[in-house]
């Protein structure tokens, strides 16, 4: 996606139009293009609902690793599929057909997802990729996380959160407008580290495996340590420290830990984490 394409979108428009970019702008086999259109038109319930509060929580699960896309979402209506997969193609009769898509269905084992799709609770976006895929295991993951073919810059979700907080608050990208800035919950990564996809410029993700760990245990040894500890970690970046140094980075992180603890007392982080 180039910068010219950056015009204001609603979430619904974004979902629709991003499919256009994904399928039409890139070199992908035509049946993938068609299935992208056919399958993934979002139902009204999946995008913004007018009049309904947008303060919902978006949960993104990333399953890292390999997936045989063509035997997961099977283009059974296309002869080419059976030609190139003569031995491992899934028989038409076994494919779980999608009522809203022509010639595309799911692997027979995906009955749960199939039910959800038929109830309008599942949407599938196909054909997301770029020409001449980079085959380095690591570069290709970075490209995936940044949605940039150069694999540089912020993560795709990080950009989204940045625009939520520093754009107009409607999920539109563009120049940050301080007048419209609003506090947003930091994105939370359940895991040891936040993935690159979540790394933004303005809002830094919080990551943890268990919210129980969000507390310094040193104060249990001696209550008199609590105040000096707070003073120590709440210094922020002190004047004698180069703001680009690792010391400054650690001081900022410590300050964030301290403020997270204060602004999310008693289980707020637990709730978010769950």
């Amino acid at each position: 996606m180039s910068n010219e394409n950056r015009s204001p979108f609603t979430r619904r428009e974004f979902l629709n139009s991003s499919l256009t970019f994904a399928s039409a702008a890139l070199t992908v086999p035509s049946f993938l293009q068609r299935s992208a259109f056919a399958v993934a038109q979002p139902e009204p319930g999946l995008a913004s609902i007018p009049g309904v509060d947008e303060g919902r929580i978006l949960v993104v699960l990333q399953l890292s690793g390999g997936n045989d896309g063509l035997n997961t979402v099977v283009p059974f209506g296309f002869d080419q599929y059976y030609r190139v997969r003569s031995g491992i193609g899934i028989n038409q009769a076994q494919v779980l057909r999608l009522s809203k898509a022509d010639g595309v269905g799911l692997h027979p084992a995906l009955t749960g997802l199939h039910d959800m799709h038929e109830e309008g609770l599942l949407s599938i976006i196909q054909g997301v990729g770029y020409p001449n895929p980079n085959r380095s295991h690591f570069k290709s993951m970075d490209i995936w996380h940044t949605a940039e073919s150069t694999a540089t810059g912020d993560g795709w979700l990080g950009k989204y959160v940045d625009s939520q907080c520093c754009g107009s608050g409607k999920g539109e990208s563009g120049t940050p407008d301080p007048a419209l800035q609003k506090p947003v919950e930091p994105p939370i990564a359940i895991g040891r580290t936040a993935p690159l996809a979540l790394q933004g410029r303005s809002v830094v993700p919080v990551s943890f495996e268990s919210a129980d760990l969000f507390r310094w245990t040193g104060q249990d040894a001696d209550k008199a340590l609590a105040d000096p500890y707070n003073a120590l970690v709440e210094r922020g970046v002190t004047g004698d420290v180069d703001s680009a140094s690792n010391t400054a980075f650690l001081m900022r992180t410590a300050l964030r830990c301290a403020s997270l603890q204060r602004s999310h007392p008693e289980g707020r982080l637990h709730t978010l984490a769950r």
Partner: protein, 542 residues
């Protein structure tokens, strides 16, 4: 369990070696600091006269896992060359060799011919009872092996804590991160142990030897699927990572080199615990890799790599990142001095045919290594944090298992690197979650309180930091008479700095204790001081 080097051969008051004046420098004529700054050549060796306890502390942290005050003072008295040579010449430091039978080699042994036959017969006869019995046996083996990998992890962690040759373990850890292989994929604890021994045996040895060794290493062959790589259907994983991650870096080879390299590695596999070259599976055709053409096998492939100057530069950049400081990924983004230094190291590495020791010696003695923007600016890995705390503060190691759990939460589970790329390190170690674990694991070491707050008191071994004060006072007697001098000396030792912003909260704590009638030097107060210092953001650096 004590850090060894203080007690094994290194004595304080060791007579200072006579160091020949190096190059153009004039040790007898100290120059004005401003003048020095201009004249200093970052890649030139550090002057003997410039080597202070702060430099010795830095050397012990980077070329090892930190030292006690006594060790720091010993190295400071020795000067840079003797200190670096002491750390490098590991064979001169007596330490028990690793017995080869510490771990069981046959937990995951391959099935015998009889067993395979029995399984086939049962399958053919649809003998569900036998098949179920075989499955249970397999599960028992796997369970036993998972227990053993935990023992291997504990054994290595204990070795890092105890060794009088810290650089040997530090380099073993370097190679483990470089040729990263995870138990999670290969599920063979003995192969992980054997690979660890390969790294230890060549820790300060020769990079070429390691490259020829790694393409024969059962753990690596299984991890990158080379055991399935045959003529006609080569698997490219090992060939790709051999160049991308282990030796050349992106941009110094082509996709064609990968395809041809994969052919050269066909038939490289293992049986049970030993490497096997299967002639029938090997592609004997002509190959062209990195400009070298012929019927190349795995060794020919490695030789073609080692002949590239890009390989030496890649390895020197990696050593620079590990011991000195991060560098931009692309050479053209590096500042001219860094570029020149890497070039110089690479030339040395090639002239010494990929011996690691001369390169490390050059690196650890360079002014660049001791530059102010380098000292106390490396973010400690979880291993450095935990092992360094036990060794330098001489806390009890308490439960190795708990420490491994904490290291896992901090993002570094040894023998389980996240991918073949190893650990990214640097700032990626730090986030709001790991920060608390880092502070809390120090609480655990100092007090025995578990990182998670639950079932506290699991380790009741008490820790008395009085020895620290005693050792610090040996060098500076005012530590004993003046509380603030003590705090400053402790901060310099523990954190590597003694600025007022760091010390103010510590002073507030101590004066609070004293005003309530407590003592500034009681074990409880000294522990409190250490709890605060080790909870500071600056403590995460070395």
């Amino acid at each position: 369990m004590r850090g060894g080097i203080g007690s094994q051969g290194m004595r304080p008051n060791a007579s200072r070696q006579t160091i020949p004046p190096s190059g153009a420098s004039q040790p007898d004529a100290p120059r004005a600091p401003t003048l020095r700054k201009v004249r200093i050549d970052p890649s030139s060796p550090i002057d003997d006269a410039d080597f202070t306890p702060a430099h010795a502390r830095h050397l012990l942290w980077r070329a090892g896992f930190g030292g006690t005050p006594e060790q720091i003072h010993t190295l400071a008295a020795w000067g840079p060359e003797r200190s670096v040579d002491y750390l490098l010449n590991i064979d001169a430091i007596p330490f028990d060799a690793v017995a080869t039978d510490v771990f069981k080699s046959d937990i995951m042994r391959p099935a015998t011919a009889e067993e395979r036959m029995a399984a086939r017969t049962a399958a053919r006869a649809q003998d569900e009872e036998s098949l179920a019995r075989f499955r249970v046996m397999r599960q028992q083996q796997e369970r036993a092996d998972r227990l053993q990998i935990r023992e291997v992890q504990e054994w290595w962690l204990a070795r890092m804590v105890q060794t009088p040759r810290p650089l040997e373990e530090k380099m073993t850890l370097f190679w483990h991160g470089h040729f990263a292989t995870s138990y999670r994929t290969i599920e063979n604890s003995y192969h992980m142990f054997r690979q660890n021994q390969l790294f230890r045996a060549n820790a300060l040895g020769n990079f070429g030897t390691l490259m020829y060794g790694i393409i024969r290493d059962p753990a690596m062959l299984a991890y990158l699927d080379n055991n399935d790589s045959r003529k006609g259907r080569p698997n490219e994983n090992l060939a790709r990572e051999l160049m991308e991650l282990f030796s050349l870096g992106v941009g110094n080879y082509t996709e064609a080199d990968i395809k041809e390299g994969a052919r050269a590695l066909t038939g490289y596999t293992f049986y049970d615990d030993e490497f096997e070259f299967r002639r029938d599976d090997h592609d004997n055709g002509k190959k062209s890799i990195l400009g070298r053409t012929g019927n190349l096998d795995g060794d020919g492939f490695v030789t073609a790599i080692l002949e590239k100057r890009a390989c030496a530069k890649f390895m020197c950049r990696k050593l620079h990142r590990y011991f000195i400081a991060d560098l931009p990924e692309r050479e053209r983004d590096m500042d001219p001095q860094a570029k020149e230094f890497i070039n110089e190291l690479a030339t040395l590495m090639i002239s010494r045919r990929y011996d690691i020791k001369p390169v490390l010696r050059r690196l650890l003695l360079s002014n660049r290594f001791y530059a102010p923007e380098v000292m106390a600016q490396q973010i400690k890995s979880p291993v450095q944090l935990v092992v360094g705390a036990v060794r330098s503060l001489r806390t009890p190691a308490r439960s190795l298992s708990t420490l491994l759990d904490a290291m896992d939460l901090m993002g570094q589970s040894i023998l389980f690197p996240p991918s073949v790329k190893g650990w990214d390190g640097g700032r990626t170690w730090i986030n709001t979650s790991t920060m608390f674990v880092r502070q809390n694991v120090l609480t655990y070491l100092l007090t025995g309180r578990k990182p998670q707050g639950r079932d506290a008191g699991a380790s009741i071994e008490t820790y008395d930091p009085a020895f620290l004060v005693n050792e610090l006072a040996e060098r500076d007697p005012s530590v004993r008479s003046d509380t603030d001098a003590m705090l400053r000396a402790m901060a310099r030792f523990v954190v590597g700095r003694d600025g007022d912003s760091l010390l103010a909260p510590v002073r507030a704590y101590v004066s609070g204790v004293v005003s309530e009638g407590g003592s500034a030097t009681s074990p409880a107060t000294l522990t409190g001081i250490l709890l605060l210092l080790t909870a500071s953001p600056e403590y995460q650096l070395c």
